[in-house]
């Protein structure tokens, strides 16, 4: 983590720095597309049979070979792959024969709702907890939080999900076991985000139903990023707390509360903005495990089903899509950081 004590000199000031980030992200996305292409088309010994699926008949495999243009030189395959992507064509699922792009669009809101809720939870709890974990004035509390953090980064999501389902949902019956809403609940879903849609429906019971279904998967999904946030914020805080200006503030008898929560935290938060991106990434990438377990009708479950069927076009398209979303989120956060950091020198 970069500590909050150094001056960052950016050539060309904020505008130049932002442009450079934009160019860098485009380059990274090109790299990501290339890797995805290489892994899915070049790595398998026979991509055609893998794409067609395990139960495909030989003539189906042959058709796939033609469809994917696998006889052509690698460069021309790559170029046509880029062309398809540029048109928003992510290919066709071999299991359902449906266009993947369409499926993704349909499933994305459910996953985003889950991942954004988990990110919000992880960050809103993780940042204050990270600050407390760096506070030597309350040693016991700090140790307790560190223990919580290390437990949550060591717990497989599919395991914690199972036992939350067993105790909270099955034994205690406090919360629903799985799904996004009760089978009997119906309301219009113009946005696809049920939290918003249920509010729009005007019925509090709809909203409560959505929230009660959301709690367990969000808890499970937020655990790992929460632990990560706590650890990153703590180490950023420790770095800042050791700096001269904090010593100066303490000698000047600025109350410890102010030193910790205002003076030090603001320094630690700028680098911690990256945590937000990372938190989101970890939430999204555990989605395929969490959604499969909670029968959550989103991208993750779609992805998990594709893995079980070795539906390679769906797997690679989903990985690519999520990665591009992740890179974009990071770009936005980076631009935000450039705007917020007073130390970016304008020249």
């Amino acid at each position: 983590m970069v500590p909050g004590a150094r001056t960052r000199i950016e050539r060309g000031g904020r505008g130049g720095a932002s442009l450079r980030r934009l160019a860098m992200s485009s380059l990274v996305i090109l790299g990501v597309v290339t890797i995805t292409f290489a892994v899915s088309r070049l790595v398998p010994s026979d991509p055609a049979s893998l794409y067609a699926g395990a139960r495909a008949r030989p003539e189906q495999v042959e058709r796939v070979r033609e469809d994917l243009n696998l006889g052509a030189p690698v460069m021309s395959q790559y170029v046509s792959y880029l062309g398809e992507l540029a048109r928003g064509d992510l290919g066709v699922s071999f299991a359902t024969k449906r266009p993947i792009a369409e499926d993704l669009r349909r499933f994305l809101p459910a996953t985003l709702e889950l991942a954004l809720s988990a990110t919000a939870l992880a960050v809103l709890i993780g940042i204050p907890a990270g600050v407390m974990a760096a506070d030597r004035a309350h040693r016991l509390r700090a140790v307790g939080i560190r223990l919580l953090a290390v437990t949550s980064v060591s717990m497989p999501v599919f395991w914690s999900a199972l036992f939350l389902q067993l105790f909270v949902a099955s034994k205690l019956e406090w919360l629903p076991l799985a799904g996004r809403i009760d089978p009997g609940t119906h309301f219009a879903t113009p946005t696809g985000f049920f939290l918003i849609d249920s509010v729009l429906s005007g019925s509090p019971s709809n909203f409560l139903d959505v929230v009660s279904h959301l709690i367990l998967p969000v808890l499970v999904m937020a655990a790992y990023p929460l632990g990560l946030t706590i650890r990153l914020v703590r180490s950023a805080m420790l770095e800042v707390l050791a700096s001269d200006h904090i010593e100066a503030a303490r000698v000047a008898q600025v109350p410890w509360r102010t030193v910790l929560w205002r003076l030090a935290l603001k320094n630690a938060l700028l680098p911690a903005l990256t945590v937000l991106g990372l938190t989101f990434a970890y939430s999204v990438s555990s989605a395929f495990l969490v959604e499969a377990l909670f029968a959550w009708p989103g991208l993750g479950k779609y992805f998990a089903d594709a893995i079980l069927r070795v539906d390679l076009p769906v797997i690679s398209a989903a990985v690519l899509t999520v990665t591009v979303v992740y890179v974009s989120v990071n770009l936005v956060l980076d631009l935000l950081q450039i705007r917020l950091d007073p130390r970016v020198v304008l020249s």
Binding site: G31, I35, V39, L166, A242, S285, I307, V319, V327
Partner: protein, 315 residues
């Protein structure tokens, strides 16, 4: 002055102290003389977690000799003993094919250990080569290698491994390759940063000045001097690799049956959890949690020991 060597007294504050406060300067002074292993052994938590890690390794290596149910560990079913709860004979119960869960866990530890060591070794190898070349040569080599590294780092964790494992097909060897593909960039980044700070040091510049070949300079002077923090990271990473591997095998991208594997045990055992047979998935998950936590904590203690500011916080 030349005859007397360096002027050691006045002015040293400015040279050595720099931006650091007096207190840091003092503790830093001690840190350079401290012996990391010695400090590590003083940490109670460090010793407990090291014992857990050692148990994991010993259990994996000596699995066949540690249980009377070695055949079950290798996958031989015993259908007359299906789903027995934990008891005197089967301490942790039996699974849906009547196999002793403890034996499966011990043999599953082998799969985890193979994957963990394999991934770390492979990733460190690639990461050190890429990081050293990038940091040492700089300029366009650095630019190209780092952009490639960035692209690999851009994938959310797990997803690239899933893609690679799905393309290669499910097997233990492919799990190692799949996780390594997403793991090496972190080491490359770390090594590059180390090399960059090392490159300006006098002994490297001296080696360059006398015209030592680059390959030799990198192998003899650079790599040995950057490995210490890499090994710290690699040790701490073992827990994360075990966790990731469990995730892959949970979704069916791990070793094929009858090979024992913790992720597969959780996946298969989960169908019985809600009907009350919690011990298969329960103990397998516990094994993952304990091992992952132990290595995470070992990493924490090692970092604490290496950093004088936090040294002694974890006891």
């Amino acid at each position: 002055m030349a005859a007397r060597g360096r002027v050691r007294h006045f002015g040293c504050d400015a040279v050595r102290g720099g931006k650091r406060s007096a207190i840091q300067r003092w503790s830093g002074l001690l840190g350079t003389h401290g012996d990391a292993i010695w400090h590590y052994r003083r940490s109670r938590l460090g010793m407990v977690t090291a014992a857990v890690a050692l148990t994991f390794v010993v259990g994996a290596v000596f699995a066949p000799w540690l249980t009377p149910f070695a055949a079950a560990g290798r996958g031989v079913p015993d259908l007359s003993n299906r789903l027995r709860p934990p008891g005197a004979i089967h301490w942790l119960g039996t699974d849906e094919l009547g196999r002793d869960v403890l034996a499966r866990l011990l043999f599953g530890a082998r799969a985890s250990l193979v994957v963990a060591v394999g991934v770390v070794a492979l990733s460190v190898l690639v990461g050190v080569v890429v990081g050293a070349l990038s940091g040492y040569f700089g300029r366009w080599i650095d630019e190209v290698l780092m952009r490639i590294t960035d692209a690999f780092l851009a994938f959310p964790p797990l997803l690239l491994a899933v893609l690679v494992a799905a393309s290669l097909g499910a097997s233990l060897r492919n799990t190692v390759i799949a996780i390594s593909v997403s793991w090496w960039p972190w080491y490359a980044r770390q090594v590059r940063a180390q090399v960059l700070s090392l490159r300006t040091r006098p002994f490297i510049q001296a080696a360059q000045a006398i015209g030592a070949p680059s390959r030799r300079t990198i192998a003899v002077h650079i790599v040995p001097n950057v490995m210490a923090p890499v090994w710290v990271q690699a040790t701490a990473d073992i827990g994360a690799v075990v966790l990731t591997a469990a995730g892959l095998s949970f979704v069916g991208l791990g070793p094929r049956p009858p090979t024992a594997d913790w992720g597969v045990m959780i996946a298969d055992g989960r169908h019985y959890v809600l009907s009350g047979q919690w011990w298969i998935a329960g103990f397998a998950g516990l094994a993952v949690v304990v091992v992952a936590m132990a290595f995470n904590l070992i990493g924490d203690v090692m970092r604490d020991v290496a950093d004088p500011r936090t040294r002694g916080q974890l006891r």
